[in-house]
Subunit: 471 residues, 2 copies
Amino acid sequence: MRVPPMRRPFLPALLLAAAFTALPAGAATRLEQAAVVRDAALAKSEAWPMLADLTTNVGQRLAGTEAEARGRDWAVKAMKAAGLTNIKVEPFPLPVWTRGAESAEIVGAAGAETGGTGQKLAIAALGYSGATPPEGITAPVVYFPDYAALEAAAPGSLAGKIAFIDHRMMRAQDGSSYGTNGAVRRSGPALAQSKGAVATLIRSLGTDYHRNPHTGGTVAAPGTVPIPSAALSLPDAELLARRLQAGPVSVKLVSTPMTRPGGSANVSGEIPGRVPGEIVVIGGHLDSWDIGQGVIDDGAGMAITLAAAKAIKDFGKDAGVQPRRTIRVVFWGAEELGLIGGRAYAEAHKGENIVLAGESDFGADRVWRVSSKVAEAGLPLVAEIGRVLAPLGVAPTRDNGAGGGPDVGALGALGAGIIDLEQDGTRYFDLHHTPDDTLDKVDRAQLDQNVAAWAAATWLAASDDRPLRTK
Amino acid sequence: MRVPPMRRPFLPALLLAAAFTALPAGAATRLEQAAVVRDAALAKSEAWPMLADLTTNVGQRLAGTEAEARGRDWAVKAMKAAGLTNIKVEPFPLPVWTRGAESAEIVGAAGAETGGTGQKLAIAALGYSGATPPEGITAPVVYFPDYAALEAAAPGSLAGKIAFIDHRMMRAQDGSSYGTNGAVRRSGPALAQSKGAVATLIRSLGTDYHRNPHTGGTVAAPGTVPIPSAALSLPDAELLARRLQAGPVSVKLVSTPMTRPGGSANVSGEIPGRVPGEIVVIGGHLDSWDIGQGVIDDGAGMAITLAAAKAIKDFGKDAGVQPRRTIRVVFWGAEELGLIGGRAYAEAHKGENIVLAGESDFGADRVWRVSSKVAEAGLPLVAEIGRVLAPLGVAPTRDNGAGGGPDVGALGALGAGIIDLEQDGTRYFDLHHTPDDTLDKVDRAQLDQNVAAWAAATWLAASDDRPLRTK
């Protein structure tokens, strides 16, 4: 979809002056510097050419595949080009899941004399789901309006059946409906399997009405070989529901993914700080789902944070200043398959003093709110970030319980402070994990607003000395 | 996409009264009757349940296939249920084209050492296009910004190449950009073939940015075996164009459709008139493309015109009146492959006195204008139709050169008068010939507005005696 470009915010000098009243000595300089970094990034960030290059010349980057490896090569080059140093590629093991053939078809009521109409259903197999035989399986479909209904199904009641979970996800700026419905995809297949199901179909965790199913990760019960599971696009889920209202329906399902041992890696690079040993981590995830081109999820997060680092680097060069803390940009691998890169990264770096961490992983639309999870002594820094981001249309919150993006969760659990620049997710789940995750969906002005917000926030955090870690 | 429902039009009595001034004797009665028919249809038409049933229980209806035959069975039953009589199924021969396997992939520059990135392109083979070998073909792509550029290519210059026509179609209420760009799809492949191309890719004739290519018919040069040809979705066309800007690109194309001898049929049913031998034809086309569900193209046209006939039938029963002229509802077969049903129908019925004909085949959004092509003596009838449709938000035109829908073109060429209830096509080419042609795209209030317009217009034409034929 083409969206109207966002208007550049107007930054009256008086407003900025007001923001600098009643600040501790030295803060005004840091805030003025942050405003310069912000405005330079807003006027001309390098995020768009980075994102266009990545998604045009690399494309999708499914975790553990050769495509993700090409993404890492791209990342190393892009970090070098942005002037980062100490660039590292840190491998970790990964069960690699790859999609096979996939199709689904309504074949009519089981045993019905007339047979079915052969209506095809648009599906996408879910990550780590199991395989049907090459010729597929045909089984009656049992309808569940939501996850709770599936939970209530009697043990064994789904033997030989395909469970269809038709829960609905709602559009929300903060993406909260993904949180409340996520279990349907992640745990629904294992729950259905525990009751005897031979396969699971879910209504996509999505908000668009296109024939684009939303794939995503699943979690198998320990010690089980997972059953085949796939998402239906919303029009297909509604067709199947209408057919089921009229009577019994069977579906023929073909899905032949494979899982094999393999590996992925995290890529990182730094702007060194004046004082060794204090690190601010920002980044996005490098892998993407295979059916789109990995643009809003999460090429945008990589481009935004790398362009923010580049803006800081350029500012430092022009102004002859260096951040106090080291700024490290991390591109995590294998996020989509269960935050595997983020967990590996936290484990490998648990001896470091990562004072603050934040990930951009909610598309390319504007940042609308800043939240955090930092030590109480660090809250004034978060307030300063709020002041400098306000002209970008970013609201502060008093929420000091932020998650900060999927891959920094493990760092946060180890005590890193967390910063969350929350993006407008109103249309994120129209595109998330679908074939429609393509470059044309990005509004360049909003992309640059993200860069400006990350550059200013990161400068403020890296030029500061207040404690931020929560433990 | 879910659209906000249209508000029901407000029909002040004064406005209606004004519409009846200065009319010939008898006209007021006919117009009052038409208004009753119109308002009854608007309040509760049967189009939605018809369309939901057709598209849920039959689905796509590719011309010449078993699915189209099931569509005919549905049509016969639906016409009977609506109270039509003299129901006929009239077969005609058809070269039947069916889609095979299809895929496309950017494989990098021809002979380039690095190879490509394996980016997959979403494609749909075009109707009557030829086949690649099962393993596909790989060839360099030559870029043409539009049809004129392809016309200008030197003879033989495309030998061994894939022609890519990247013309752009614009959004327009009247769909006019389809008219000006239609040659790209219909004739582009044959033109590229004449210059030596081994395959053709076109940017879809469409206005949406989803990974849904728009299929459609092509016309081969006489005596040739057509080359493979396919449409790219807009995001894929733009990706390919970006890759071509950076340097030479080859594409691997697999497309294995088949064409075989077969047949289709037209289905018709009637509300008999008081005076035998004068016929008003309304209808839609029965076949659809295979990749969607045949909802806006053209299940809607069938449902709208059959529900309009049902509304007239119900009115006649309640009011004890019968139309003067016979109203015949025709569902044409094999429209999508080149108006083959419409031409067969005109040929088979050229001895009949079809005084007026119109087809609903531009989606399910509201009628916004009425135009015609009738004898001068019939223009006052068209003006009456304009008066009665005005409260539905329909504008009259002085345009007496209307086409009236694809399948009535051949009837018009033989002299039948033409009526065109023009629909708002602003979003039609977001959906046209794509997988996204599904029931959820229909706004029921706008669908019913169509029924009301067709019911009133058809009543006025069938209860009239002025000559309408142009020859």
